[in-house]
Symmetry: C2
């Protein structure tokens, strides 16, 4: 969670290929963590504009105390604008590509990066939906290709999805995970590829229901938005859906599903997962391991404390609008 | 959002029937807003315990500056412990029932409340899933019955769902909405009843997908939780799903759906709402009215400002753990 990172990576250098909003955000994140960054974009003039925006964003974070005081000054020496792909990847230990969401372009650019980058250097893509299997299957260095998908805006949202293809080497995936952790982000590791990965599937499921509520004339979009921003979203800003229900019954997720499973399954048609079965098949054990229920009252107390702090924060935030 | 409310309702009195966690939370909210509360629970000894917990919660809110300084002191005079239902409802302008989630008990208690409460006084239920149609259809005063469903923990989460039955009088629904607003809560108005109302349907849709991701061995529960608490939930703590996508494309929701509609529809089987059609049928117009796109850059700036403030808040919150 902490954006302030120590400069332990002052010898590390990342090549950022594609310098639109996402590439710029990656630059802000890597520079904040003491990395050097090398920027390349095939469109002329983009890297210069990107550099200005990156410095402005860093300056803003510095003013808010979210990065070290000297970050802006130090970063000036650590941004390198490259005129070619081969210049960009030189001496880099990591490549992050943030090109357009187009399969053919993705194939072409990854192939080009693979050609000029020394072996075993990971090549990650910021794609939000194209699996590595689809764009990298036929290139020689496919073993070092993987998705590292950030959430918009990437310099402010910690989660990054790591999605390996079946051909991605385990060591490459582990290296990327370590790099993502080292720059203060939260890596989410997918065991295998699936359309939309995890983040967009969760968002999509919520949106699908939101659209259905509109279709069935149950509520206005404004009130659906309020159900999240003045309701469920307050908890979700510091605890996920499983942790939420797990800590909502004295017996954890098992008790929750026993009590509410039928209610939820009756809500939707075509529900294809049996919650009770999953709980018994290991989900219960996993959650008990993650969040012990020995001190149930304490969990509740901590949650309420966090909610109070969040409310204070939101009130102050509204005052300063 | 503001919990600090002026004492404009010092002459108003609410009867809280059922004094478990939910009833206690309602008491905290009403007392914070200057109302008098009258507590009744059929189980002996409950109201006394409830009073202690209510005072402790009020004291906690007062220490955090979330209610006025004199709230605890003033509230001592405003809590009335009742020995019977008819004593509890005396001189009350509003009844909030928070009994067990059991249809037969709900029917019985609502019938009893209706018998002893003067005409036209609204009788609201905190039920999270039983529609008014199911428990109040056959009682004489069904016209003044309605659901007012809070989210756990109700004294900290602003959203309250107002769900009328077909037989609920429009003026009753409006009165309840005004009362909910007057105590600093955010009423969400449902146009009609539906299983799970809006909040639990949205939560259920997200949970359904979360369970599917587990079933299909895509990710661990921990990483799914992180996708929300370190990802989507940060935005959702201050903007709903429609606002989020609407402000994620320069053309608003229309552009977003044009760009990503296919991606989302390919993610799920049996999607039954056509997003594009809904956008054209008025959703676009509603959102444009709610959130003008005249100043697109400003929206983005405000969102990022809010995210920065939220990050600062979360860091401070973690430090104090």
């Amino acid at each position: 969670m902490a954006l302030k990172k120590q400069n332990t990576h002052h010898k590390k250098k990342v090549a950022l290929i594609g310098c639109g909003l996402i590439g710029q955000s990656w630059a802000v994140t890597f520079l904040s963590s003491g990395w050097s960054v090398s920027l390349f974009d095939p469109v002329e003039g983009i890297v210069e504009t990107a550099k200005e925006k990156i410095m402005a964003n860093l300056s803003n974070l510095q003013n808010h105390g979210l990065v070290e005081d000297c970050t802006v000054l130090k970063s000036l020496d650590r941004i390198h604008l490259s005129q070619s792909l081969s210049e960009a990847v030189k001496e880099c230990t990591y490549i992050q590509e943030s090109g357009p969401e187009d399969l053919d372009i993705k194939k072409e650019i990854t192939h080009k990066i693979d050609k000029v980058t020394p072996v075993n250097i990971p090549i990650a893509s910021s794609t939000s939906g194209i699996p590595t299997s689809a764009y990298a299957a036929n290139i020689p260095g496919n073993y070092r290709c993987v998705v590292a998908h950030p959430i918009n805006p990437p310099h402010l949202i910690p989660a990054v999805e790591i999605v390996p293809a079946p051909f991605t080497k385990e060591t490459i995936k582990e290296t990327v995970k370590e790099i993502i952790l080292s720059i203060g982000k939260e890596p989410l590791e997918l065991k295998k590829e699936t359309p939309g990965f995890v983040v967009n599937r969760l968002q999509g499921a919520l949106l699908k229901e939101a659209f259905n509520l509109i279709k069935n004339n149950i509520s206005s979009a404004e009130d659906i938005d309020k159900a999240i921003s003045h309701g469920l979203g307050l908890r979700w800003s510091f605890m996920g859906p499983f942790q939420t229900i797990h800590l909502n019954a004295p017996e954890g997720i098992k008790g929750y599903v026993e009590r509410y499973g039928t209610m939820y399954s009756e809500m939707f048609q075509g529900s294809d997962a049996s919650w009770s079965e999953l709980v018994e098949d290991g989900l219960d054990a996993e959650l008990l391991k993650l969040y012990s229920l020995d001190e149930y009252g304490k969990h509740e107390e901590q949650r309420n404390k966090k909610l109070i702090q969040l409310l204070i924060h939101k009130i102050q935030s509204e005052k300063s609008d």
